[in-house]
Amino acid sequence: MASAREQIRSLVRSGDTFDQSAEDMAELQLEAAREAFAAHRERIPLLRTRAEETGVREVTGLDDLVPLLFSHTSYKSYPVSLITAGRWDRLLRWYSTVSVVEPDEVDVDGVRDIDEWTERITAAGHRPYITSGTSGKVSFLNCDGTDLRFLHDILEHLTCWPDPLPPNPVRRGYLLAPASGPMRSIDGFRWHADVFALPGETRLLTEDPMRVSELMSSALLRRRMAEGIATPQEISSFESASGSREEELGAAMARIVDDIAAHRDEPLLIAGMNNQQFTLIQGLRARGVPDGGLHPDTLVLSGGGNKGRALPDDYQQQFAAFYQGVRRVRSYGMTEFQGSCLACEKGNYHVPPWVIPLVLDQAGEKLLNPEHGVVEGRFAFLDVSLEGRWGGLISGDRVFVDFSPCECGRSGPAVLPDIQRFGDLGGDDKITCAATLDSYVRGMIHG
């Protein structure tokens, strides 16, 4: 008999992924959690340490999972100095404590920069997806071959759920993203283009690959400033480099706007993070493309945190208005778990069966999951499908999760649309005189 984790993974191709009975699911999930814990404890030192420290030997219920959840910082807990000093073997050793990668699997001989280091791990059969925050220090979230295949299955079978889109390559594609790079969104956009766009008819924002070192440049500069060795010229170059890059991207965006405006009567695929989508919509509106003015077989993928650049509060409404009548993937997700929570007909985000939602108190310590009803708290989860890393994580999101059956008729749980970052709900208004150099350099780097 297939393991519980395999049974859950196979639901992605079942045609009724989200229509499982809550009771059966709870049992299968718990078994899968046991399997995942047993397997990962053997291979991931950080999980082993955590298990020993908290005394959790086995998973008997969801409460046992809470002390085993990682925070998002675990995946960027490497000392930046390992990168600035080029200690790639050390960085690899760090990576092997938070993932199933073993140091002797990866050849880091002759690695010159963080991008090459990332490529070597990819070459060894793993994919270190990165996510970036405003500090510039990036997280490395490991996926292995099984995880990548599973991601691919999700897009092929669940795109546009609850009304899945047949995998026909009939659209003119626009990816508002770099050509490649170790980001799940970039891979996701490209795979969608492979499945849903006309072969050879996909336009990119830039042909350049996304470089990890470029994403990290603010963290690296920050470190040099903290050490007092960054020069004014260096800071100025950093500022103007981002300026000219923005100009290039602006020009590329303008070309895409023109192209979409010219082909808006054809089925299109438009994929991009929220920031780029917003810029695109403004451009198209300026070119006279009205709301609801695209071909109805158009597929739109968007998402992503609103990092660094503020979008207007009503950007979601603006997206909905402009893209009315086309097929949109509406979901709540994060790179930290596989796939995403997809919106049903009622607009609630259904948690996929391989993700066990664990709603915690704000401190992230107490499990609040009720039997039924809505609970407010911090979104945490265990993704039992993941093979490349431990899938238990605490997010920074404040959510309402409904554990009762949804109005759409399916059993829950579903995340309700009112999702916010705890950080955006306003600080705690506590003032202390203790702080770090960060306060002094942030203004200079991020304006």
Partner: protein, 466 residues
Amino acid sequence: MSGTTLQGEPSVETAVVHVVRGEVDQAPPVGHGRGASAFTAPALDLDRLVWSRTEPGPAFDVPSAEIVDLLVETGEALKADREGLLAEALERMVRISPLPAEVLERAYAVLWRSFQRTSLHAQIDHELGGADVLDGWREVRLPEGRIAATRAFPPRLVHIIAGNAPGVAAMSVVRGALTKGVNLLKLPSNDLFTATAILRTMASVAPGHPVARSFSAVYWRGGDETVESVLFRPQFFDKLVAWGGEATIRGALKYVGPGFELVSFDPKTSISVIGREAFASEETLRQAVEEAASDATFFNQQACVASRFQFVEGSEQDADRYAALLCERLGVAREFSSADGPRVAGELREEIDVLRSLAPEYRVWGAYDGRGLVIRSPEPVDFHPDGKIVNVVPVAALTDAVTHAGVATQTVGVYPDTRKPELRDALACAGVQRVVSLGRAGGMPPGLSHDGFYPLQRLMRWVNDE
């Protein structure tokens, strides 16, 4: 949405008292905050929070000797706490502060120290050069032989105070009183009680005294534009005296302009440097560790003067001996710290767990129970050690440690004292403001500069008669 079980509804709300112009405000309460940290405070009457510029403030012409007397009496009253005002504030404070009750109790027990006559005189004499310039016009002889006069004129101040140590409220009241100016104190959510308890004690000592009438202390949510955009104007106040909090300072900047100045006690961090002399004997090592532990645990490391990074001149083995001993001594109760501190937060815990696995480059002593934890690393860790965590970094020479001091470094504790002269210019050059003997980081002596300037001098409006 049936059977909704919303979490975090407050069971008992804490009532915050406002003092307006020296008196307890009776306005109806409104709610603030969320969940367990929810509280109520009187609704604000913005008109009563400003003092009209068409007339002098209540205490503008009160002789400084009388103010000093009032402060000393207030100090005595704080010590005795006959009306139980401090006890009441403490009881409420314990519920909201991240500091343990015993640390708050000891901090409250010594609040009166800021009101000692010698320390008040030290501030007037060292920062202003004497009371004459505060009480009247000081004659100044100009280069061409002309005579002019100058006066430290009472200012109009709005203070945004920090809440991580109760002494900040006491220091702000003392400084505000000595200026003779008018003072609006904005209470931080991590200390909603100390400032008002002190002001109420002052009012009980001398009901209706002009100095008491020169103070208001109220809460509004930091950054609330409906309040700040109205109050932070030169028509009402000369200066914004803001403590710490990056968000506070950045938020305040947009109001700064001609006639409305920012006096900022910037957010800071502190370090220690320990010379190889510490390893001369078991006794010197114990002594150095004791002083370093005292500096590191000041207000359970919540304060800006608390040392977080300690640079040890010696080998990795020396640093390890030092670190092991230090870890033991962090878990000891002192005047301003408790044996137990806050448990190490999850995110920090993970970063440290990962460093543990990077041995032997990194080594960790202690657990996450809040009794103290020490990390030895080849260079300073990327994260901010907080809650009785110390990062020990071995250096070949103390001068190497100077490169790790910067504009955000406030206090540097040095062991032994004899090494200070060789380091202090270089540290000052890097941006440091205080070089102290190891163990002396806590409790800044009155009359010296603070964050690189003399506060009393900076708070006054210097006016000339030429």
